[in-house]
């Protein structure tokens, strides 16, 4: 019908994008992968040998294993909080109508237009020793010493939620927005209570979407650099901070690259695992 699409030349449209991705993303990544196998010879120099030393060190040294586990723990906490807090919010927004809905969506989207660094410094004002929360609690007499909230796991989690939560909300909203609500009516009509019909229909049907949102939150929280570097505790480092330090301060490029690729591998394996799991629960979509 559309000869236009059959002509191969249409793919030329993608060429600039493909070239950009190739030269500015794919090639540097490949270069980094190669460096990750090099041998570090001290003082920022390295040998183009082939060694697994960096990977071996990262996955065996207890110091780095602690970093891996800490990063995963923080990412899991952020993922669960954003899903548990996000679902009811998304549900309420989807059920709202007219002006209320538009205002809610704007409240989610507008912060995304603000620069991340600016938002992180905003948390200094809120969480700091002389910050908003401490002053409020002191004035109310709830505490008599300012609570140390900044530069803790707590502030890292708050900062990561700030980054991830709006996106999780948007994903969950789009999932629930596609729900056929007459199925809820059918469930009620057949004798399911309000809660039971929600669980049996809305919730069960939204599980694949929730998995996508959770995955998104997890992978992002695992790799985020700015939040832990500006809000993180000195003693508790995340993988991305370690990568930055190795490359920028220690100048051990091979080891930094090994860690970076390990992070990528951890994220990818979670991605494949969850893809496999949702595929299992998803057979009804095949026909």
């Amino acid at each position: 019908m559309f000869d236009f699409y059959r002509k191969r030349k249409i793919y030329l449209i993608f060429l600039p994008a493909l070239l950009t991705v190739f030269f500015f993303f794919f090639l540097p990544i490949l270069q980094l992968l190669r460096i990750s196998f090099y041998q570090y010879t001290g003082m920022g120099t390295f040998n183009p040998a082939f060694s697994f030393a960096g990977y071996a060190k990262f996955f065996s040294d207890p110091y780095y294993i602690r970093i891996i586990l800490y990063t995963i723990k923080i990412a899991l906490i952020v993922t669960f909080i954003s899903l548990f807090a996000g679902y009811p919010v998304a549900y309420t927004i989807v059920k709202a109508s007219g002006l209320k809905k538009i205002i809610c969506l704007l409240l989610i989207i507008v912060p995304l237009w603000t620069n991340l660094i600016v938002r992180i410094y905003g948390w200094y004002i809120i969480l700091g020793k002389n910050g908003f929360i401490n002053i409020l609690l002191l004035r109310l007499g709830v505490i008599d010493q300012p609570l140390p909230m900044l530069f803790k796991s707590f502030s890292v989690i708050i900062g990561l939620l700030d980054v991830v939560f709006p996106w999780v909300l948007l994903i969950l909203i789009s999932v629930l927005e596609g729900m056929d609500w007459s199925m809820i009516e059918a469930a009620r009509d057949l004798g399911a209570s309000r809660w039971k019909s929600f669980y049996e229909v809305t919730f069960k049907l939204s599980i694949p979407g929730v998995a996508v949102a959770g995955l998104f939150a997890f992978v992002w929280a695992m790799g985020e650099y700015a939040v832990p570097s500006l809000l993180g505790a000195t003693g508790k480092r995340t993988i991305s901070i370690e990568v930055g330090d190795q490359i920028l301060s220690v100048l051990n490029w091979p080891f930094g690259a090994s860690i970076a690729f390990s992070l990528l591998m951890i994220s990818f394996s979670v991605l494949f695992l969850s893809n496999y799991l949702t595929r299992l629960g998803d057979q009804y979509k095949q026909a």
């Binding site: 199925m183 009516e185 059918a186 009620r188 004798g191 309000r194 049996e200 009804y284 026909a287």
Partner: protein, 357 residues
């Protein structure tokens, strides 16, 4: 026995009146149709019975008990929705079993019942399939079984056939009516399709702009429509407008705008006066080449056009003051009146129905 009673039912959405003072009684085992154009309040009325909407005023009684305060899950009703609303993540078996599971029945009993109803709709082999592996007609039957399996006092159907193609629709009409009679279940069926209502209903409630226009058997509604709206909505008809004169006990004359006179048999609604509108069905008008003998109504006209409609042939006849459609069985029309021929239209006064204009 009266199974469902709707008393002074009114529903107002944001100052728009969707349903206005509807009163209907439905007998046990009756197949009742709510028929009307879209926006006439028929679906809202059905949803009020099922508990999916709350009436602004009035009462719903099921088996003598007022159920206004009961949520849908506590009512002895089951609904087949317009898009069937099957659960896509559950198999056919699980879909049908849903209502029984919610009633916390024993597993074995559920299995037996589901199989019994899957048998009834000829889908016993399909229990393990998912809804999107079924055809439209099969989905429709699953939705029906899912509602019937809970053995509700009242079955509610909201335009369940509108998404099917014509052939399947006709087949399902027959099947639903057979099941309804077999199970002797009180049923309310909402549709805008008058042929569906005429073919399936025990009684039809005609609704228009939120109000009940007429309640009657399909035969009554078709042959004795209570208003020009119904006459126009149910089947096809010709309207003749004119002034009423020469009123007697049983008949009256209508002087048409073109000067012709039609005699109508009255049906005892009291002597009509002023302007009137006469409805004559296209199949109740007979064409002749010469003035037919007898004392029936005869109008002279000229055939403007002939339309072949399959089983019938329609002639568009122009007469002094208007246009009339005349239908004849295609076989009978073989001798054929041709275009621009002059004809005499014969109408029995008993087929000329005077309606309030």
């Amino acid at each position: 026995m009266i199974d469902v009673e709707l008393i002074h039912l009114t529903k107002i959405y944001h100052e728009v009146i969707a349903v206005k003072n509807v009163n209907i009684e439905i007998r046990h085992g009756e197949f009742l149709f709510l028929l009307g154009p879209s926006g006439c309040g028929k679906t809202t009325t059905l949803r009020i019975v099922g508990g999916l909407e709350t009436p602004t005023e009035g009462f719903v009684k099921i088996k003598g008990d007022t159920v206004n305060h009961l949520p849908p899950e506590k009512r002895d009703t089951a609904t087949v929705f317009q898009n069937w609303a099957l659960f896509p993540h559950k198999t056919v078996f699980e879909n049908v079993a849903f209502g029984l599971t919610m009633r916390k029945m024993k597993k074995k009993l559920i299995r037996d019942k589901v199989h019994q109803y899957l048998d009834m709709i000829d889908l016993s082999e399909y229990g393990d399939r998912y809804p999107n592996q079924l055809s439209g007609g099969q989905k429709q039957r699953v939705a029906l079984a899912r509602a019937l399996v809970v053995e509700p006092a009242v079955l509610l159907l909201d335009e369940p056939l509108s998404a099917l193609d014509l052939k399947l629709r006709q087949q399902m009409r027959f099947e639903i009516r057979r099941l309804q009679k077999e199970l002797n279940i009180t049923t309310i069926f909402v549709t805008h399709d008058q042929t569906e209502a005429l073919a399936m209903a025990d009684r039809i409630v005609i609704m228009n702009q939120g109000r009940v226009e007429q309640i009657g058997t399909p035969h009554d509604i078709y042959h004795h429509p209570g208003s020009t709206f119904i006459s126009d909505f149910i089947g096809e008809t010709n309207f003749f407008k004119g002034r009423i004169s020469a009123v007697s006990e049983e008949t009256c004359h209508i002087v048409l705008n073109g000067g012709d006179i039609l005699q109508c048999v009255l049906h005892g609604e009291g002597p009509p006066t002023g302007e009137g509108c006469v409805s004559v069905r296209p199949e109740r008008i007979f064409l002749h080449r010469n003035v037919p003998p007898g004392d029936k109504n005869v109008l002279q006209g000229r055939i403007l056009d002939v339309t072949f409609m399959g089983s019938t042939v329609r002639r568009h006849v122009e007469f002094n003051g208007g246009m009339v459609n005349v239908d004849q069985l295609a076989g009978a029309a073989d001798d054929g009146f041709r275009q621009s021929e002059t004809v005499y239209m014969e109408m029995d006064p008993r087929d000329c129905l005077l309606l309030p204009d």
